[in-house]
Symmetry: C2
Subunit: 234 residues, 2 copies
DNA sequence: CGCATTTTTGATATAGGTCAAGAGGCGTGG
DNA sequence: CCACGCCTCTTGACCTATATCAAAAATGCG
């Protein structure tokens, strides 16, 4: 039931990067006004609905994306056809870094929550990264984050019992201030933790029963952080 | 039984980078003679024995390393004290990229096979990466490799049954030309695949029994590649 | 040669997978 | 606006893969 929207529909308004609200954490935070003027294609922004596909693995691409607001899953397919979610991308994350090195995207990027994105031409990023030391440094930091996120995914979400993995996931996707979180579909949870939907469902039921999480409104939970940490270290 | 050797013992001979045998695939492949002359500290090389520790997680570091020949495991520790091998580094890989962004190493790097390394001062790499486009591009490619390696580790070695994971590991560590491989300790295999040493041992015994691998000499096997691929996709 | 460590093998327990059925939401069309 | 059908989620019963516990081989080291 994938709602796929066309590029033409999607990419409309030009972005106003100099006054962007996430500018400090965005990819272009270090650019000068001169840099912006040297960008030939306009930076465009878009909003995409849940279920939409930003790009597929193997697609030839010419754009990097900054996720301004929303949630996207990066999926990698296995030789036997099954799939695994290798990362979740959220606010201020950058998608498509691989285009700096290779012409194709390496994952399927699927929108999970309504997402606002800005897109930048790879060619401009590459060119500016040579002349602008701040962008150069920022790109390294983005790569670094991708690697440490991947390592965390492996060690905290793919090791240990289903309960420990689930606890790790909840702590990772929750809002750090409010201790609240919205859950993904059981199928996505399974594909992240490498467990079945049934085990995912049972584990969540168990957490609700033992008070580790409480459903405030539909699919909206408040978490017992200390309790979840105890599950992980226990 | 970790044999730890001191830095003073270890880092002896200065490297002759311009005539290095792995130069084409090494980090400095794109440097000019002028670049080399601008490096203030000499590039040094060393050989380290199995069991030695190159660096620990959290150590403050000033050097990147190119692995000329050998095998190193990168280990990450979990909150509950257990550990997980997150990557194996072999010929021509670069260790310590994280120092380009943060002052501390993020993994424990442990020598598995006698390893020859060259070390480069981070400060020089950072400086040269701004002026030399080839190094800049090479660094991106290194980061990219780290990310894709991590994704592969997750999807191919941490998903599915013990047999599939083991088959994936064997195919990954074997010599692609000769179809041969040397096995790691059962404990390391367990820490890579997130299975117990007993399951690792049993799976290997099973593979030997069914002819998927044959021991030619002690701990030296020849693999049935097609058979192993069949295990993965089956 | 003998002790320590690693590997293998066996017996048993259990977490999680599988299969199947029912329950709760949600959109669509009458 | 309700009813039907389609999903997704939940729960139950059962089974298998892997963990766990234990002991015996094999290997390596002093």
């Amino acid at each position: 039931m994938t709602k796929r929207i066309t590029i033409a529909q999607a990419w409309s308004g030009d972005a106003d990067c100099l006054n962007c609200s996430v500018r400090k954490s965005a990819l272009f935070s270090g650019l000068t006004e001169d840099d912006f003027e040297s960008i030939h294609q306009p930076v465009e922004q878009v909003t995409m609905p849940p279920g939409a596909v930003l790009y597929k693995a193997g697609d030839t691409g010419k754009y990097l994306y900054t996720l301004r607001h929303g949630l996207i899953k990066l999926v990698r397919y296995l030789p036997d056809g099954s799939q695994r979610i290798v990362r979740l991308m959220c606010d201020a994350d950058v998608l498509g870094l691989e285009l700096l090195v290779t012409p194709q995207y390496e994952h399927e990027a699927l929108i999970l929550k309504t997402t606002k994105l800005c897109r930048y031409p790879v060619s401009d990023i590459l060119r500016l990264s040579h002349t602008n030391p701040v962008l150069h440094k920022d790109l390294m930091a983005r790569w670094h984050k991708a690697v440490t996120d991947a390592d965390t995914w492996l060690t905290e979400l793919s090791t240990g019992s289903a309960k420990k993995r689930m606890a790790g996931l909840l702590l990772q996707i929750m809002d750090k201030d409010s201790r609240e979180c919205f859950l993904l579909s059981r199928e996505d949870i399974g594909s992240i933790l490498s467990i079945t939907v049934e085990t995912a469902s049972r584990t969540i039921s168990d957490f609700k029963r033992t008070g580790l999480m409480k459903e405030i409104t539909y699919n909206h939970y408040i978490l017992d952080i200390e309790g979840l940490k105890a599950v992980i270290s226990g």
